[in-house]
């Protein structure tokens, strides 16, 4: 699986060069071959084995000291997701190659799309909780880049940031949660955690459950975090179809299903899932019904589906888990298709507004036909797989209790209404006044829906194709020791069928009420904008900005001497207090009397410092600061630290040069400070100097732990193959620190660059 991910990463890395080259030959669609090959490979190699009950686990070291391993685990659940990601991904890439044809920066688009695909594959196959978290955050970041792909639009940037904040905020909670889970369960390997239900109870376990659920709920847009998902529709349609319906938003669902064997029996876990899922289902369905933008309607309908999946996990019986898997497959097939078709309508007619579109049946007959099939699956009508899935949901709810049935029927009837509206509004009725002359969608834009819907039809007519293999294996992964089961399209006249008919009738009634209920929809929209969770999000953002402005005005008043005073006092007071109360006044160590060089070096140091402080000339001040640095370098060299000495000399030289460059622009070197301020600054500076001296003296007397330098000295040549210990430490023993430091350097440089250059550009 690691190889799968590497292939996609490599493809992502090549995209900026490869895509423009392919685009000039009109062959961007060829990129779809890569996920297609991976799909076929997974289907032919893994599926037969996994259907037989086998699992695959491969572990490679990454950071063993942190318990972070590159371990990948394939069972039914992860294989199902791998197939969805690569399978739907294939058609998304093909679709995007045509849909995005006229967009600038196509290379960047495919870079992020493939980077997302790799992260998502990693997420669903990771066996290590920390590794899963790494991929989890990567999907959030790539999603951010894709939602904000039209980065020149302020709206897209803002909404992308909203999605990022919600999912990454949840991701941080998740990280805390999985670390807690790891310490409670005693291992970070998921395959070991799910061996048996977690026996532990108590408040720590409850905190852990809530944190993990928060991560999953934010990612999968559960109430009250549902608002980011419809806003993510600012992304180009292929992204919405892929990330925000079929794959990324199911990551939270995946995680909950993955941990179900271990945590499913915790009452808090299933109760929260039932409530969040139930509310999300109904809320999403109502909002989908009231939406006017076709992509928004689909997005809310996705929220409904995600709520349903969470709800089914909350019920947790075998019937519910079978329904969960069936609904997951059915939803991925029809929702990705619906998004692609909606994108085709937008691309062709230039509008996404359901109340303005109309009469496209004549110009877009193929799109119309596919839309009917997709909408029937959404509505849960036979003979599509969506019907089987919905019947399974009803059965699971019936077996649980009557309140849940009510929730399920409400959801189903609103879905029927949305499905019918999606057929009627854009395609039937009189020709509408459209921004551009509509035309039939092109082959790459229709092939995806056609294939996915054919699969939906096939699975609906012959459920035998999937139930014994994929679905059985997935259910086994979520609830071990599940009994055998069979799916079929006809169950006889039973309660579930009755509920289906009821939902259909209610749905048709709701369709008739669609036009008259528009004023209500408008009211509802205004209401949710003023008091809903989204309003809360914006209030929070405004508050943060307001606070930042306030505290900047108070703290950052623009005078360097004030900043320095605050910083130095913030160090001196607590550190000095701790030193004097905990350690006492340090003793003077016994040292050999200094020789003449040492006296001279210190004298040079002191003199140049003094001169730098008292000279009125700016240049003289800088040069004497440089001289001071050189004197320090001399001390390093004298005490046999040549590397430090060389570095000090070079840094001093370059600092002086930089200061000279800045000086040209600085205003005249006059003294603004009054005598009192000068004395105050001098006292502060002397305090720091005294504190540092005391600290050094104290450090000489105290040895908490054996010094690590002996280890470095002994092993520098043995392990690091170098005789220069400083360099071996820098690039081998502590290379991770160095890596962090060079990134800090780079960010500092870019900060300097943007502060100086970008300000100029805007003026």
């Amino acid at each position: 699986m690691f190889v799968f991910i590497l292939i996609i990463v490599l493809l992502a890395a090549c995209s900026p060069i490869l895509v423009p080259w392919l685009a000039s030959r009109q062959k961007v669609g060829l990129l779809a071959l890569v996920p297609a090959c991976l799909f076929v490979y997974a289907l032919t190699t893994y599926l037969p084995a996994v259907a037989d009950g086998q699992t695959f686990l491969k572990t490679t070291q990454w950071m063993p000291s942190l318990g972070l391993t590159l371990s990948f685990y394939i069972d039914g659940l992860s294989l199902l997701f791998v197939l969805l990601i690569t399978g739907i991904g294939t058609f998304i890439v093909w679709y995007a190659s045509d849909y995005m044809r006229n967009y600038p920066d196509l290379g960047r688009f495919f870079l992020w799309l493939f980077a997302f695909m790799a992260a998502m594959l990693g997420l669903v196959t990771a066996d290590n909780l920390l590794l899963l978290f790494v991929f989890w955050e990567l999907t959030s970041i790539t999603s951010y880049m894709l939602i904000g792909f039209n980065h020149e639009s302020e709206k897209a940037r803002k909404l992308a940031l909203q999605g990022l904040f919600v999912t990454v905020g949840g991701g941080l909670l998740l990280m805390t949660g999985v670390i807690l889970l790891g310490s409670i369960a005693g291992t970070l390997q998921i395959s070991e955690i799910v061996q048996q239900p977690l026996a532990a109870q108590g408040s720590l376990v409850n905190v852990m459950l809530i944190l993990i659920l928060m991560g999953a709920f934010t990612k999968s847009a559960q109430f009250p975090f549902h608002f980011w998902l419809p806003n993510a529709m600012a992304a180009p349609t292929p992204v919405s179809a892929f990330l925000h319906s079929a794959t990324m938003v199911k990551a939270g669902i995946f995680l909950m299903a993955r941990l179900h064997p271990a945590l499913g029996e915790q009452i808090l876990w299933s109760t929260l899932q039932l409530w969040a899922g139930g509310i999300t289902m109904i809320l999403g369905a109502v909002l989908a019904y009231t939406a006017i933008d076709i992509k928004k309607a689909l997005a809310y309908s996705t929220v409904t589906a995600l709520g349903t999946l969470t709800f089914l996990l909350g019920i947790g019986s075998q019937a519910a888990i079978v329904a969960f898997v069936g609904f997951l497959i059915a939803h991925s097939l029809y929702k990705a298709s619906l998004f692609m078709l909606a994108g085709a309508i937008d691309h062709s007619a230039g509008s996404k507004d359901l109340s303005k579109l109309g009469g496209l049946k004549k110009t877009m007959p193929m799109t119309f036909a596919l839309m009917i099939v997709a909408a029937l699956s959404l509505a849960g009508l036979p003979p599509l797989f969506g019907f089987i899935a919905k019947e399974l949901v009803f059965e699971a709810a019936l077996a649980a209790n009557s309140g849940l049935v009510l929730v399920a029927v409400t959801m189903a009837s609103l879905s029927v209404a949305v499905a019918i509206i999606l057929i009627i509004k854009p395609f039937l009725g009189s020709d509408a006044l459209l921004p551009q002359k509509p035309h039939e969608a092109s082959f790459p834009m229709l092939v995806g829906p056609a294939v996915l819907l054919s699969a939906s039809l096939l699975f609906g007519l012959w459920p035998r194709l999937v139930d014994q293999g994929l679905i059985q294996a997935t259910v086994q992964a979520v609830i071990p020791n599940a009994a055998d089961f069979y799916l079929s399209i006809w169950h006889g006249f039973n309660a579930a069928l009755g509920l289906s008919v009821l939902a259909l009738i209610l749905g048709i009634v709701l369709v008739r009420a669609w036009q008259p209920s528009r004023w209500l929809a408008e009211k509802q929209r205004l209401f949710s904008e003023s008091v809903g969770p989204e309003a809360g999000y914006f209030k929070l953002m405004d508050f943060i900005v307001w606070l930042a402005i306030k505290q900047t005005r108070v703290i950052q008043n623009g005078r360097l001497s004030n900043y320095m005073t605050v910083i130095i006092l913030a160090v001196v007071i607590p550190v000095g207090y701790t030193l004097l109360t905990q350690h006492g006044w340090p003793d003077l160590p016994k040292v050999a009397p200094p020789n003449i060089y040492e006296v001279m070096m210190v004298a040079l140091l002191a003199l140049s410092t003094l001169f730098a402080v008292i000279t009125p000339a700016r240049f003289a001040s800088i040069i004497s600061l440089g001289a001071m640095g050189y004197a320090v370098a001399l001390i390093f060299v004298h005490f046999s630290a040549p590397d430090l000495g060389i570095t000090q000399v070079l840094v001093e030289t370059l600092t002086v040069l930089l200061l000279v460059l800045v000086l040209v622009k600085a205003p005249g070197f006059s003294s603004y400070a009054s005598r009192g301020e000068v004395i105050r600054d001098a006292i502060v500076a002397i305090l720091l100097g005294v504190l540092m001296t005391l600290l050094v003296l104290a450090a000489l007397n105290v040895q908490w732990a054996p010094s690590i330098s002996d280890y470095f000295i002994e092993n520098s040549y043995e392990l690091g193959k170098g005789r220069n210990i400083v360099n071996v430490i820098l690039v081998d023993f502590r290379a991770l620190d160095t890596l962090g430091e060079i990134f800090v350097l780079a960010i500092a440089a870019l900060g300097v660059y943007s502060m100086i250059r970008l300000r100029k550009g805007s003026s």
Binding site: Q61, R618, T647, K665, G722, I742
Partner: protein, 160 residues
């Protein structure tokens, strides 16, 4: 008067238009630049056994370029670099990450150093991921400093 003199010295040191300031400086800069760059590479390569290394080497090289900047101005420096200093920065960071890939692929802990030793024309050559990493540090340091230098010594600021 003193203040004016300060500004004059600074102007001269960071002069951008006038290339006729000092014949000695110009001649010296042309000779010193390649020597100092070679020396920086020397410091980089020997760094594992003797004083030196990527950080020090990068500082020396940045010093060489800044001498060139001070002598011939920002436009000449931009001509000398055929890529932006920011790209050098990016390549440096990338090499730092690339150095971690071999250990990852061979299934060892993150940042485990891998070595390749062989004899070339009688000399023992030690190649390693550590060296790649050090080159990354070297380029990052050059990129950082030159990004700062070129940002500050922007020709647009000296038009008056």
């Amino acid at each position: 008067m003193k203040k004016h003199k300060d500004i004059l010295i600074a102007r001269n040191l960071s002069m951008v238009h006038r290339h006729d300031d000092s014949l000695i400086l110009r001649t010296a800069a042309i000779i010193i630049l390649p020597l100092q760059l070679v020396f920086s590479v020397f410091l980089l390569l020997r760094g594992h056994d003797e004083p030196g290394g990527g950080f020090i080497g990068g500082l020396v090289a940045a010093g060489a370029f800044s001498l060139y900047l001070f002598t011939f101005g920002i436009r000449a420096l931009n001509r000398l670099f055929w890529v932006s200093p920011k790209d050098i920065l990016a390549i440096g960071l990338l090499l730092g990450l690339v150095a971690t890939v071999p250990s990852l692929l061979s299934g060892q802990a993150f940042f485990t150093a891998l070595w390749l030793e062989f004899y070339l024309a009688g000399t023992k050559v030690k190649l390693s991921t550590v060296l790649i990493f050090d080159i990354g540090v070297y380029l990052t340091v050059i990129g950082t400093l030159m990004t700062m230098f070129t940002a500050i010594a922007n020709p647009r600021d000296y038009r008056s």
